[in-house]
């Protein structure tokens, strides 16, 4: 008999560090907070290419991909991940971004298919809530 936790499938999330940036305090804090909120979290570790991230998302069958970069490479790397996910037929995966990302880049990232960008100072609870709401069919 499945227990009550088993009845409701856990939300599966991939937290990834694209590019060469080594600042992973935020990525790890978010990973832990999502896990504490009951989600299944996989963290890729550092220095992942967009190709590796999209492949991991496919293998792990995740509903959410969280990308973190503090090096300024987000403009190149985040849209590339979205593109590759779409190529793999995973266009419905929720792609979130975080890091040192200037306001003016957020618009273009959203146009490229990143659903939401969380900047420094965001409480982890806000990210948890956002994911739950989006995956239950609610709007942003």
């Amino acid at each position: 008999m499945p227990d009550s936790v088993g009845l409701e499938a856990k939300i599966r999330v991939l937290i990834a560090k694209p590019g060469l940036d080594g600042h992973d305090r935020g990525a790890k804090v978010i990973a832990r907070a999502l896990r504490d909120a009951g989600m299944e979290v996989i963290y890729t570790g550092l220095r992942q290419t967009p190709e590796q991230i999209a492949e991991a998302a496919l293998q792990e069958d995740v509903q959410v991909v969280g990308l973190s970069s503090l090096s300024g490479a987000h403009r190149h790397l985040f849209p590339r991940v979205v593109e590759l996910l779409r190529e793999k037929g995973m266009g419905d995966v929720l792609v979130l971004g975080g890091g040192v990302i200037p306001e003016k880049d957020i618009t273009s990232l959203k146009e490229a298919g990143i659903t939401e960008v969380f900047t420094p100072g965001t409480p982890t609870g806000a990210v948890v809530e956002f994911i739950r709401r989006r995956l239950s069919g609610g709007g942003a």
Binding site: R47, P102, G121
Partner: protein, 559 residues
């Protein structure tokens, strides 16, 4: 230092005060928090007295400035002789752009250079490597060959400045490039003054720009120690850094503990390689963070100095007083800066700078107000530099050496941090030292746990961050942000292609082959790297040779 009888009588008086006037006030006006403690979890007394550091012995634990155990500072006159070196970490785009920023900073009264390299450079990739995509010139300047390095220092005589380079895994290569530029400028290499970070252990623990496995990296580091001891007498061959572990989330006490545990590993490695501790001990430099908890930070710097002096003298038997001295650079805490109401960051930085100065730093980088948003703009960097100039020349805090010595609170915190750090170091020793502790993920886990706790404290309101969880307002960023020219990557690629065609490829290949032999054979790699650099082998080519011999490190991904 205190008379036992007087302490006993003081204890009675204190009890009377606590049960009398203090209790009366508390009954009517409770304190805002149930418990007060520092960021490291050290209890903060309501009002400190000699009872909080009863064992303190002036001669044994403090001494005079410039004397063992250097609690009060490494020089007798400190800032009365010369202010600390104002050294802003800078670099972005290509060498030409960064060269312009350096000249600007020197004109503005900065007294030393600090080179930020981009991530491909820090991880040993040329700008045209596929892994470099999107990262060229972003967080620092792109340097792929000696030619880039020549441009970076064009018009800056290397015998007139001291230069700190934040470079770790490929430190040997960038140091060789710096030496080669000096040779081309006609400067006496023996006179070169500066620092390479060269601290690989904290890269595994927190910062992430490792290339080779730990044991092979340690060999590169001891090669550099040996080379510098002979050839570059004024060069700091390593800057053992707590900064990044603190940024990654550890506490003040952990910062001291992990930094000194790493330092112990380097000293041990040097000795195991047959070097006399006093041949390289005086050239070890340190790098700390200056965070928000003001008195704990001041105490941290003092505790680190005292503990290092004791370790070098007692544990390693160093005899040269310069080996006992913990000389350090400080940077204010980037992770405390907020994207919300970013002007407020100027005030945070001023407080952190003040703590660093009261803690006796040798050099200081003050962060810019916009660092939670982008790379700092020229205006923001100027305000950051002016902040330290105001501390140095207007506030008067630099006029008396170690002015907080004798503060019951600061002496108490200093002793507490030293004790906590010692406990950690013993634990790490029991694991087989810092390399083993990092290999099994101990230091990483400690840092992550502290980071998570800190975040939770902000979220449940136990820790206030103005503008983030209290006193919020909706505001726009009131100033312009820096944008890195996106054409940098293409320009760098073109430059490299052209260099590879132009250079004497027979010489380059011969130098790289010789390097491979030396690396595999166990000789000192520095002269071979210098030869390759002079032959315009690129950074990526040199590091690839070493990757072939040493292998690459893959980190675990626990969180």
């Amino acid at each position: 230092m205190y008379d036992k009888e007087k302490l006993a009588s003081l204890a009675k008086q204190k009890e009377a005060w606590e049960t009398g006037p203090a209790a009366k006030t508390l009954a009517r006006f409770p304190e805002q928090r149930k418990e007060y403690s520092t960021a490291s979890g050290i209890p903060v007394p309501r009002s400190a007295t000699p009872l909080d550091a009863p064992e303190l012995d002036y001669a044994r634990d403090l001494g005079f400035p410039g004397e063992y155990p250097f609690t009060r500072g490494v020089q007798p006159t400190m800032y009365r002789g010369r202010a600390w070196t104002m050294r802003q970490y800078a670099g972005f785009g290509d060498a030409e752009e960064s060269n312009r920023r350096y000249k600007y900073l020197l004109q503005q009264g900065q007294t030393g250079l600090s080179v930020a390299f981009d991530l491909p450079t820090q991880i040993g990739y040329d700008s045209d490597h596929p892994m470099a995509y999107g990262e060229v010139g972003r967080v620092g300047v792109a340097i792929s060959s000696l030619e880039d390095m020549e441009t970076l220092f064009a018009g800056i005589p290397l015998n007139k400045v001291s230069t700190s380079m934040t470079i770790n895994a490929p430190a040997a290569v960038l140091l060789a490039m710096y030496i080669a530029v000096a040779e081309k400028q006609g400067v006496d290499v023996k006179a070169l003054d500066g620092t390479i970070q060269n601290d690989i252990l904290k890269e595994y623990a927190a910062r992430g720009t490792y290339i080779f496995p730990p044991r092979q990296s340690m060999r590169l580091i001891t090669d550099i120690f040996a080379y510098c001891a002979g050839e570059l007498p004024n060069w700091n061959s390593i800057s053992i850094s707590g900064y990044h572990m603190r940024e990654a989330g550890c506490t003040a006490a952990q910062e001291v503990a992990f930094t000194l545990a790493n330092a112990i590993a380097y000293v041990q490695a040097g000795r195991d390689a047959g070097l006399d501790v006093d041949s390289f001990g005086p050239r070890l430099a340190f790098f700390f963070n200056s965070h928000m908890d003001f008195f704990e930070e001041v105490a941290k710097f003092r505790a680190a100095r005292r503990l290092w002096a004791r370790l070098m003298k007692e544990r390693f038997g160093a005899r040269n007083p310069r080996s006992w001295m913990l000389r350090f650079h400080t940077q204010t805490a980037g992770s405390t800066l907020t994207a919300q109401q970013p002007e407020n960051n100027v005030v945070r930085v001023a407080l952190q700078a003040l703590a660093a100065v009261l803690g006796g730093t040798q050099s200081l980088h003050t962060n810019s107000r916009d660092e939670a948003l982008a790379l700092p703009s020229e205006d923001s960097v100027r305000i950051a530099l002016r902040t330290q100039q105001i501390v140095a020349y207007e506030s008067g805090v630099a006029d008396s050496v170690d002015p907080l010595a004798g503060s019951y609170l600061v002496e108490y915190l200093t002793s507490q941090i030293e004790a906590k750090a010692r406990e950690y170091i013993e634990k790490i020793d029991a694991m087989g030292g810092a390399v083993a502790a990092i290999e099994r993920g101990f230091i990483q886990n400690e840092i992550q746990d502290s980071a998570y706790r800190y975040q939770k404290e902000i979220e449940d309101g136990r820790r206030t961050v103005v503008g983030v969880n209290r006193f919020q307002t909706e505001t726009q960023v009131p100033f312009d942000l820096l944008e890195v020219d996106p054409a940098v990557e293409a320009r760098q690629r073109a430059r490299l292609t052209e260099l590879r065609l132009r250079r004497d490829s027979a010489q380059t290949s011969a130098a790289l082959a010789a390097l491979k032999d030396t690396a595999a054979g166990g000789g000192n790699v520095m002269p071979a790297i210098l030869r390759a650099v002079r032959a315009y082998a690129t950074l990526g080519e040199i590091i690839d040779v070493l990757r072939g011999v040493f292998g690459e490190y893959r980190s675990a991904v626990a969180f």
